[in-house]
């Protein structure tokens, strides 16, 4: 235990050192006035980051931008999770349904989410609905894909055993197929989180009037490098937090799987 703890401390120290070195190099470089013209120093960016919670970028303060982006992400992601898991599992378990849905799904799957942006804007306008739809598309594909493979690769022995014990179709689906696919589903959710996050940022970059993507793109339009870097910083931190959150959820849902291994 102590060895593990020592290892952890070593890791944390190394991480802190490498960040410190990076910021130091950046700071030294920004002391040069020509460099500072293109790229502000780390402390300017951090200062702007903290002050943006009080002063605001554009019409709103930072917390508003973060919350509105997160709300777009959440609505699209939850819808994609519910529909995606349902579709994926039924597609993986019922062969007739699979033969019906699979071609349609394969028709749409190769198109990258970002390519949908203009069409979605054309259909849903430039309001919130367009962002929800885009996040939905981004997360939906990988969630369906993984749930589908999960349901397809349920252990045959378990299925046969259940059938032998006289389990009906409904029981089979709810008590065997769904729990057995949870690891695959959570893998899909992890990919889905990341792609939903990148979709919402991209959607805001292309067309929006608030949100963290908007902060970055208005920074570009007003030639404000500090603002761009603040935006990217926020995007990184939230993306990291979302990934950690989903990993935690997976840990809880797949506890049985880990213990078994």
């Amino acid at each position: 235990m102590t060895l593990r703890k020592a290892k952890l401390w070593q890791k944390v120290t190394a991480g802190v050192i490498s960040f410190a070195v990076l910021i130091f190099i950046w700071h030294i470089a920004s002391l040069d006035s020509t460099f500072r013209q293109v790229m502000p120093g780390p402390f300017t960016v951090l200062g702007k980051f903290f002050s943006s919670f009080a002063e605001g970028i554009g019409k709103h303060v930072m917390i508003y931008h973060i919350l509105i982006t997160l709300s777009r992400w959440a609505v699209g992601f939850v819808a994609a999770t519910v529909l995606g898991i349902t579709l994926g599992l039924t597609m993986g378990w019922y062969p007739k349904f699979e033969s019906f849905m699979r071609p349609l799904f394969e028709l749409i799957r190769p198109i990258p989410t970002l390519a949908w942006i203009p069409l979605v804007i054309l259909w849903c306008g430039i309001g919130e609905m367009a962002k929800y739809t885009l996040v939905f598309i981004g997360a939906f594909m990988s969630i369906v894909q993984n749930a589908y493979h999960g349901a397809k690769s349920v252990d045959r022995t378990i299925v046969d055993a259940a059938r032998m014990l006289g389990c009906n179709d409904r029981q089979m689906f709810f008590t065997i197929v769904i729990p057995a696919s949870v690891p695959a589903i959570s893998a899909g959710l992890q990919i889905g989180v990341a792609s939903a996050w990148s979709s919402v940022v991209a959607a805001e970059l292309v067309r929006s009037s608030s949100g963290v993507g908007w902060i970055v793109v208005t920074g570009q339009q007003s030639n404000n490098m500090t603002q761009i870097l603040v935006g990217i910083l926020v995007i990184a931190v939230i993306g990291l937090l979302l990934a950690l959150l989903i990993r935690k959820v997976e840990d809880i849902l797949c506890r049985w799987n880990k213990r078994g291994r």
Binding site: G15, S18, E98, P110, P112, A115, P118, L205, I228, A236
Partner: protein
């Protein structure tokens, strides 16, 4: 279980009419509500399948309305993607090997990398546009950054998963540390490297479309975004079809490469 597999494919065969039916139904409903008798959806919202198909064919010879044919846009996107992708792989794979092999280096680089990774490639675009203008350069960097992540992570995992027994065998036979890396760790990581390259290519292809929407004068993303402004969804859908087909072809090419390189079987 070859027999089970054969049985399964036979079972799928019997439902093939359902697949065909679903595709026909899809196009029929699409046609019915746009060009057919129930044509309630306006052409500048969703054009019919025949119209889209005609536009797709026409666009390869017709320069209107954006001043370039489809193949010019295709080539513009593809060129930038491939250059950026190459750079991303050239940096990401060696760095992944390095980080996977030297634990000390890993401890220092990994935290920074973990912090940068959740940033979608597309979010970097405004920064590099401001630094380098709207030419090819910023997009190549953005694509390289987008490819870099998956290439590095997968290579890293591959090197980390080298079987200890294999390393011991190498050590017993007196291989130097470098020989073990070069002859054991890297070859056994190749399946992972290829997975990383495939994921990276998908991400790169998706990112270029987004980057071209933000700043470009040619390319499929530019075409798609331009046609939104002038209400030409038929061109948008035609271009999306092209994006999908090219993406599928690129993915398939890497699968072929994978098969070629892994002829020795799985190990």
């Amino acid at each position: 279980m070859p027999s089970a597999k054969a049985k399964k494919s036979k079972k799928n065969q019997s439902y093939i009419w359902l697949s065909i039916l679903s595709l026909i139904l899809f196009f029929f409903i699409w046609w019915l509500f746009t060009e057919g008798s129930l044509g309630t959806i306006k052409e500048n919202v969703l054009p019919g399948p025949i119209r889209v198909f005609k536009t797709l064919i026409m666009k390869f010879s017709n320069k209107n309305p954006d001043g370039a044919t489809m193949q010019v846009h295709l080539w513009a996107s593809l060129k930038i993607t491939l250059i950026g992708y190459l750079f991303g792989c050239l940096v990401g794979i060696p760095l992944g090997i390095f980080m996977g092999w030297y634990e000390k280096a890993d401890m220092f680089i990994n935290p920074i990398f973990d912090f940068i990774r959740p940033i979608p490639g597309i979010a970097w675009t405004p920064l590099f546009i401001l630094l380098f203008g709207i030419g090819m350069m910023p997009k190549v960097i953005v694509i390289a950054l987008a490819t870099f992540g998956p290439a590095l992570v997968n290579t890293y995992t591959g090197i980390r998963q080298t079987k200890e027994v294999h390393i011991w065998v190498g050590q017993t036979f007196g291989a130097s540390k470098f020989e073990i890396l070069y002859k054991i760790a890297i070859p056994s990581a190749i399946p992972f490297v290829l997975t990383g390259m495939r994921v990276g290519l998908g991400v790169a292809w998706s990112t270029i479309i987004g980057a071209e929407m933000l700043a470009a004068t040619a390319g499929l993303g530019y075409l798609i975004n331009l046609c939104r402004g002038i209400y030409r969804p038929d061109i948008i859908i035609a271009a999306m079809i092209c994006v999908g087909i090219i993406g599928a072809i690129l993915g398939y090419a890497l699968t072929l490469l994978e098969r070629q390189l892994m002829k020795g079987g799985r190990w």
